[in-house]
């Protein structure tokens, strides 16, 4: 780019020098008028010649191409945020169940909530695995609380005596 600019400057400045020398050496009269015309043509050619040889840039001004790229970035960001949000919600709900069980006096040792993506575009608790040596009555108490407060039906609550 700068090579081209440099040679362009040299070409125009060189043409101007030749024209100036010709103008200084040409005697007044008709020859002077012809010299002026020729010098004008030489200068115009020197200015526009590189422009004539230049290829037009192949730039796409199609905004949709850029929007496609940006949509991909946004989708990627959203999916990463959703993954992170799922982890946070699962951890919060696990902690909530353990706290609730403790307040009910149940020796619950573990709770693992699994989330699913709803049609309302947000996560909801789908199933839960509860661990601990709980008596049947305690299990029913915890199970009922989980169903009432987290909306996980008893059919999707799995019990285990030991953590895996």
């Amino acid at each position: 780019m700068t090579d081209m600019a440099g040679s362009w400057i040299r070409a125009i400045a060189g043409a101007a020098l030749v024209c100036a020398a010709a103008s200084a050496l040409t005697p007044r009269g008709k020859v002077k008028s012809v010299q002026k015309l020729i010098c004008g043509i030489v200068l115009i050619i020197a200015v526009i010649n590189p422009l004539m040889r230049k290829d037009l840039p192949g730039l796409s001004l199609d905004m949709s191409e850029y929007r496609e790229r940006s949509d991909k970035i946004v989708q990627n960001a959203e999916s990463k945020e959703n993954r992170l949000s799922r982890t946070i919600i699962e951890n919060e709900l696990d902690a909530y169940i353990l706290d609730k069980a403790k307040s009910l006096g149940s020796p619950l040792t573990g709770a693992k909530v699994a989330m699913r993506w709803s049609e309302d575009d947000c996560w909801y608790p789908y199933e839960v695995t509860l661990t601990g040596p709980l008596a049947q009555r305690e299990k029913e108490l915890v199970s009922g609380t989980v169903e009432a407060e987290l909306g996980i039906p008893k059919s999707r609550q799995h019990w285990s005596d030991h953590e895996n």
């Binding site: 362009w8 400057i9 101007a16 024209c19 100036a20 200084a24 790229r69 992170l84 947000c122 407060e149």
Partner: protein
């Protein structure tokens, strides 16, 4: 006038930077408390890639300033000021050396022609002086054209790392629509600026310099209007491009911002009808949005500093040479004829146009960052 406006814009941005750096919610002790998820979110957004994409010289200027540093604004400004102090003397000395050479030629020419009578020999001595001044100026011009183009390429390359991270952060903070629009607009206009600079503006500046030299060599004002036209064309092209960019960014930002606000309200009302789960989901969402908002501002501030670091040396070099050439032109008018001072002044104007071109690349990224940083939060 345009240079004055550009300088004022830069000053405004530099003064606005520390305020933006402190724009987060502090706790009682005054420190910013980021949510625990911020580190994970930063890794997901790959904020480290912004620092890695920084050109070597700019990275050297910013030193150990990190993307997620809470005091990045203050540290970065200190680093920029230090770099400015270190480089300004060297650049000024170089510019004054060029001015000294030009004034020496002008002085010798003036002394020589003062004892000559009008005619061919006197004209040839004047032409010789113009050639000598042009040789000095063209060496500078060639270097500055390379400098200007290299800076624009560096800005373009850096924007390819910065803009996706900024877009990710803004989208995660809730500005999904406007983040996408702003990324697309900035990426498109950056490409247009580079293409226009390579194929149109820089060649025009070269022709402008050449026609200024030719106008000084030729006995009559043959190319005076061509020179004026080229200057107008060049400044009009840069101004038009910037105007189109800012208008598009603002207009599309307003439309997409409204859509983001509506989406945010709809999400809030959907969460409101859920019981315990709704609270947990809402808390998780607000934690993530707060974290993303913090990261968006941190990336924005780092982007500000990085763009300023990339542009610092070229803008100072071009700005000082612009001023020194204009001053030399004013001094030489007292020593020799107007043609010579017009030539020096026109070459200074060419440096001013290059300065405008580089500054417009930096301003484009600045405007995009400001616009993304002030976008709606989903909270």
């Amino acid at each position: 006038m345009k240079i004055k406006r550009a300088v004022l814009c830069w000053l405004f941005l530099i003064l606005a930077l520390p305020c933006a750096a402190r724009a987060e919610t502090p706790d009682k002790s005054g420190d910013i408390v980021p949510p625990k998820t911020v580190e994970e979110q930063a890794a997901d957004m790959d904020t480290g890639s912004v620092r890695e994409a920084l050109p070597k010289d700019a990275r050297k200027i910013l030193g150990d300033v990190g993307v997620t540093d809470t005091d990045a604004g203050d540290k970065g400004l200190s680093a920029l000021y230090k770099a400015l102090k270190e480089s300004i003397n060297g650049i000024l000395k170089k510019a004054l050396a060029s001015a000294g050479k030009i004034l020496t030629v002008v002085l010798f020419c003036s002394v020589a022609t003062s004892v000559m009578s009008d005619g061919g020999v006197r004209d040839m001595v004047s032409v010789g002086a113009v050639v000598a001044v042009s040789a000095i100026a063209v060496t500078n011009a060639g270097t500055f054209i390379s400098l200007g183009m290299d800076t624009l390429y560096e800005l373009s390359d850096f924007s390819k790392a910065l803009l996706p991270v900024m877009c990710s952060a803004a989208a995660s903070a809730g500005a999904i629509g406007s983040a996408s629009v702003k990324y697309a607009a900035t990426a498109l206009f950056m490409d247009v600026l580079i293409t226009a600079a390579v194929n149109f503006i820089v060649p025009l500046i070269s022709v402008y310099i050449a026609s200024a030299i030719a106008a000084a060599v030729l006995p009559k004002d043959t190319l005076g209007n061509v020179t004026k036209f080229l200057k107008w064309l060049c400044t009009a092209a840069i101004t038009l491009l910037m105007l189109a960019f800012t208008t598009y960014l603002e207009m599309s930002g307003i439309v997409a911002g409204k859509a983001d606000e509506l989406a945010s309200k709809a999400a809030k009302s959907a969460l409101g009808v859920l019981p315990v789960v709704g609270d947990v989901i809402s808390n998780a969402a607000s934690t993530l949005v707060t974290g993303a908002g913090l990261l968006r501002n941190a990336v924005g501030i780092y982007g500000f500093l990085a763009v300023a670091a990339v542009c610092l040396s070229p803008i100072i070099t071009l700005g000082i040479h612009y001023l020194v050439y204009k001053g030399t032109a004013a001094l030489s008018e007292a020593l020799t004829d107007k043609r010579m001072s017009d030539l020096i002044s026109d070459i200074g104007t060419a440096f001013g146009m290059l300065l405008g071109l580089v500054a417009s690349g930096g301003m484009m990224l600045f405007f995009s960052l400001i616009s993304s940083m002030k976008a709606v939060n989903a909270l």
